[in-house]
């Protein structure tokens, strides 16, 4: 097999150097066959992703044009009415706002705490540091639903001790229904969310810290740099690359919040903690913040999912552009 197509002749080399031997290019089938085992190993996961991620995305796009309660086949074509309804639904926009509040409060606070803890736990002279690392990582391996149930029991169903916690201290005027008060419910959900997934970012930061060569700190100390200078001039710059990944992952995780909210508050009281994923769930499977009688509407839920997906794509693009611009600016200032 040669590269030249039939009828075409290769120009003679003016230097008269001998033509290289024709490169043997293999066909697609042969290359697939050569990497057969790799494809075999990848196939199960690829099938699962196609079946449970890719297919539902495209299938749900079709459902957005129907009013359908999920029973039988969709037949009531409504065109773009579902999109119009979602876009004019104040509860949807409230859910978007709550989701963004959740993400934009949780991520910075959690990353700050995780970085501080990582610095402490990375100290080789700290005794029992493995124990502390385990303690901070345990919530991560606990199901969010379980965490939610336990917290719900503690805050609401074990009597009024939790609500009266600060009543005698003067911090609050009276008893607080932490999960039933619209002023506190979302804050409680965020606080629990910070605690629950803190361990992930802690581990990421610790991994990042361990990649920083110790020689840098030794040289800085010889030059007279103190701990604060070392942190801002060595640690933070060296963590920048891993930090970007951590920020992106933390935002992705935050925008997927569902089970914690569903178990703790169900989106209530009166939609005060409704996030987009619980909103979609309630549309698709019925139920809601205060009434269990809402009928499922898969079409409406699909439209809400589609719109939320678009919003996230826009946000992700903005995030990437912002990070890229920040990187360029820093690179420019470093020159």
């Amino acid at each position: 097999m040669t590269l030249s197509a039939p009828g075409l002749r290769r120009r003679p080399d003016p230097a008269g150097t001998p033509e290289p031997a024709p490169v043997r290019r293999t066909g697609l089938r042969r290359r697939v066959r050569a990497a057969g085992w790799s494809y075999a190993y990848l196939a199960p996961m690829a099938v699962l992703v196609l079946a449970f991620v890719v297919y539902p995305i495209f299938a749900s796009l079709g459902y957005t044009f129907y009013q359908w309660n999920g029973i039988g086949s969709p037949s009531n074509f409504v065109g773009l009415a579902n999109f119009r309804q979602v876009l004019h639904d104040s509860i949807f926009w409230g859910a978007v706002e709550h989701t963004f509040v959740y993400a934009f409060v949780l991520v910075p606070v959690q990353l700050l705490i995780a970085l501080m803890l990582a610095l402490v736990l990375n100290n080789p002279r700290l005794r029992f540091r493995m124990f502390f690392r385990t303690v901070y990582f345990v919530p991560v391996v606990t199901s969010a639903a379980v965490v939610g149930v336990v917290m719900q029991l503690m805050l609401s169903n074990f009597g009024d001790a939790a609500g009266s916690l600060f009543a005698g201290t003067g911090l609050t005027g009276s008893h607080i229904d932490w999960l039933g008060d619209p002023h506190t419910a979302l804050a409680v959900v965020i606080a629990i969310g910070i605690w629950h997934t803190l361990g992930y970012n802690l581990v990421y930061f610790m991994a990042g810290l361990q990649t920083i060569p110790a020689e840098l700190y030794e040289a800085a100390r010889i030059d007279g740099a103190g701990p604060v200078r070392c942190f801002f001039s060595i640690t933070l710059p060296m963590l920048r690359q891993v930090g970007v990944v951590i920020v992106v992952l933390a935002f992705i995780g935050s925008f997927q919040v569902f089970d914690l909210v569903q178990v703790l508050t169900g989106g209530g009281p009166y939609f005060a903690t409704e996030v987009v994923n619980t909103y979609i769930y309630h549309l698709a499977f019925g139920g809601g913040s205060g009434s269990g009688a809402v009928q499922p509407d898969v079409g409406l839920a699909s439209a809400a999912s589609f719109l939320y997906g678009l919003l996230l794509i826009l946000f992700s693009a903005a995030q990437v552009l912002a990070l890229r611009r920040l990187g360029r600016r820093r690179a420019g200032s470093a020159l």
């Binding site: 029973i71 932490w178 205060g290 499922p296």
Partner: protein, 498 residues
Amino acid sequence: MQMTASPLSRRTFLRGSALAAGAVAAGGALSACGSSGSGSGSGSGLAYWDWYVTQAPWVDGEISRFQKAHAGVTVKKTTQVSAKYADLVALAYRSGSTPDVFMVPQSPGLAEQVDRGWLLPLDQWATASWQSRFPAGTFIEGANVFGGKVYSAPLKGSAPQYQLYIHNGVFRTAGLTNPDGSVKTPTTWDEVSAAADAITRKSGGKTYGFGFGNGDNMGLMAWWLDLFVRGAGAPGGAPSGSGTGLDLRVGRWTYASDRSYADFLDLMVQWKQRGYFYPDSLSLSDEAARAFFERGRFGMTVGGVWNQPEWTQHRFTDYSLVTLPSPGATPKAFYYADPVGTGAFAAVSARTKHPQQAFQWVDALTSPAAGRRWVQDLNGVSVYPADNAPAGIDSKPFAAFVAMTAQELTGPVPVIRNPDLAGVAPQAPKSDIGDLVTGVYTGQIKDLQSALSSLAGEKEQLLSTAVAAVAKGGKKAAMTDYVFADWDPTRPYTAAKA
């Protein structure tokens, strides 16, 4: 990487995996076959689905009796999660693994289930003489009968859905007693307010006047509005759900035009501001609230007869109940019997392989004897009036509940007047009356009148759309079918007609 170092070669591993996967698949298929066999009734086995948990002893007893009376027929009961029951039935039909007999899910509506071919017509066995054992009006088009065919039968009778439960011990401690020492049960809004005030004040904040458990998002706050607003003269009440809560005198939702709604919601906010409500009520689970009431953490709660079996089980019977607390001495509207809403209890799947045995099981479940046991087990009232006789009911609170059937009047039922309305299936608003009451309670809804008006308009629009859809299908349906201008809510509708 050297795979040969491992005693398990790649080929061996894959072969083993394939074998294991095959075995699992075969096992799954076999177990699916087993499940299907029992599900659709292999031999004379009947699969039966319900969502009854606290009523399970009654169901189990009926199964035992039925199996003794029908040798060779067994009933395999599966109790599903009530919140997901409708989804599970729909999925069962989609996957072809339907039970032979099942409690009729509330969604989709019975008419739609019939349209979809889910249910088996029972006319072959449900003869006129069989139907005659039920009260008149049980088998009418739109209620158990669709297209002239019988598809289901009732078990439960109508009684006031909600009651105000009163903890006698808390009332006594607060001094709320009559001269003869009995508990002074409040029947008017003022008396309820005064009782709550006395309980909260005299206990020094340790006990509250009211409490409830809305943590499970069951729309429970609408129960309070529904219970209190009827006595004030709003016959539609405040039930959650699509197409419910109409004031049938005008065929509209009167949330905004009938001041009873705003009046009660204002009163409720005042109660909250005065600290009468147990403060964690919004996030407390319904089960926990029941336990807290039992322990006397609050003196009054709103609920239904389903509370009673658990309290009885815990030997807690020192409570009273009243219904329809009103602004004045007598209620201006009541609860109304709804043969369509409460009529259908169980039905037979169209896919059953044992239709006769399946009908026999429906027959047994809805028999007068089973109804009597339903009442005696404190589950509720029976569709047969004779079953609800006070004799034989040991529990005083339950006897009080049964006596309340007198406060359930016969009301107008649009689908009886126009059977074509059976196909009307309006959507429910995303935010229904239960959400609105919660929003008012928490203070999130500031403009109450506007919120009430908006919800009434939305529900009316949804009903109007559903009616138009039925009319478009060639049936006679109009919004005027929901208007009964001659109805006096203080009198039984049929009596008024007579």
